[in-house]
Amino acid sequence: MAYRTRLWSPLDNAAKIFPSSCQKSDTRVFRFSAELTEDIDENILQSAVDKTAIEYPHFLSVLRRGFFWYYLDSTNLRSIVSKESTSPCSQIYIEGKQSLLFRVTYFKKRINFEVFHVLSDGVGAIQFFKSIVASYLILKYPDSFPNSKLEVTDDSSAFEKSNDSFDTYYQEEKGKFHQSYKKRSRAFKPKNFRRDDDDLGFIECDVSLNDVKALAKKYNTTITVFLIAVYMIAISKEMKVRHKKNPVTIGVPVNLRKFFKTSTVKNFFVMNYVEYDFSKSDLLEDVIKKVATDFSKVLEEESIRKTINSLCHLEHRFWIRIAPLFLKDIVLRNSCKQSEKHTTSLVSNIGSISMSNEFLPFINHFTFFSSTLTFELTACSFKNVLSLGYSNAFKNTQIIRNFLSLLNSMGIKITLYSNDFESLEKEGTK
């Protein structure tokens, strides 16, 4: 048989850091779940995944090591749906193992979709996940969708979906570029005991979107800014007096699809950092004001263009390009660790997840979680549910407690779910 060329692609700019810095304790995996109204049928889910994957060939790839860079190689592997049996966001990429970089599992009414960050960012992955959910619903309830057309979130081709947008919008620019973390001062990092076995604790807090919207409106700001400000105050309550010399720094990924036209499902985001110095004041109004001004500064198109250029400039440097991969691994791992020292936590808000109206009655809500080395807050909303996901690598849950009690004090009713089965485990060891 004649040889057929297989598609492969280099990693996009943001993805380049993930394989080097991925470890058992920080798996760089994030997860979406959709809760439907009935228990999940495995066979139907499997055919839904198979059907959808054809449209998103980018997801059907394995990560391989080259001599200078990692690359994504297309593969004939098929994603096998299974009942959830590993802890959420557990390792997907294991060096040398030939496996896909995402997994679809189910548990009771929930479909879970976990992705290694190399493949895609939250906004890209949710597109794929929405298509899976839509095609599952169409297969499960054929009568409710007589004109069974797959929900198409956009009409882009498979090639457009796997386009590297960093590369598209990179302009060579002269001048000096600095690593962004060097500009920031060392951030406050709470010291805590790590959880056992590197398994993360997940707490899902579901609240009413309208209530939070109303609160944000009261403070004249957006939901993201409001959540970040409340979260910062929750963290600041764990600061000892001598810690207050360091600011609380929150990293917020900014989706670039809003600023540049693209239909890529690959990574296309930049990290934006907001700082607040709690030695001055810890009033919510003040924090919101500072966060909002920081945000508006970064979100100017010119500043974003500069960030992209400086990020891509690094990877285009000749000396960096010809360094062998194992050296890059060491350098990237180290710079990740350094950057980590300048960041207290991350807040990632995917925003509102939209589906066509005919699917709405079949879906209760969506949730979003991310793996972390410390603790992290994620958010997404669907219908009237704002789902906040708190992932925690520590035994201490004081920060989320502060966060929830702040929300509570503003009159927000909270329902929570958690993967903490400590009492059950204790019984098991008896």
Binding site: T5, G66, S85, I203, R401, N408, I414, Y417
Partner: protein, 230 residues
Amino acid sequence: MIYCRKCNVHIGGEKSSCPVCQGPVEKDLDFSDSKKLGLGEEEVFPFIQSKKYSRNFVIRLISFIAVFVALTSLTVNYIFYKDYWWSLIVCGLVITFWLTTVVAINQRRNLFRSVFLELILVNLLVVLWDFFTGWDNWSIDYVFPISAVVSMGCMVLVSRLTHTESERLSFYILLVDLYGLIPGIFILLKILNVVYPSAICVCCSLISIAALLLFSTKMLIQNLRKKFHL
């Protein structure tokens, strides 16, 4: 639904304590706020038993056995026969065994790479053994060329057994072929006592390279392009 009075939150699933404050929880039948949002009282995460063995347990076990054997033999040697240090040979064997096994376990997911790395490792160790036991040249005379040819065979065998695509195989075969040319350098440097194994090894490598170039040119070029993209 379960309710935590301290945190003022409703909790899904059957928990005996609040996951946020670890305090006591009570049953609350009125959870209309959650119901209004369509939130159920079921557990949404499965219970996952924690792992029985720690990570890399086998490697730790092998390392412990290696340390145990080496230290015991050194001690026995020191106490009973002080004039002849046979235990150093035991230690050498232990290190050889330990290194080759650990590399094999570490690389178990990529068998081609495993074969290639083992080839290099075994040859290095064998040369060291030869050097410290009086340099009789057996390492580069026999082991070097024979192991290279055996590795080529191993790779083909592995690919047949695991049904790996020939694309990945071609790259690693090329690596072993290039490695198999090294005995040719030994011949040219005239440092060998017995040349036949090396000559056969170089011949095999060249034949294999020729076959790769003639039958899978496109595949090879594509593969090199991927592996070495800048």
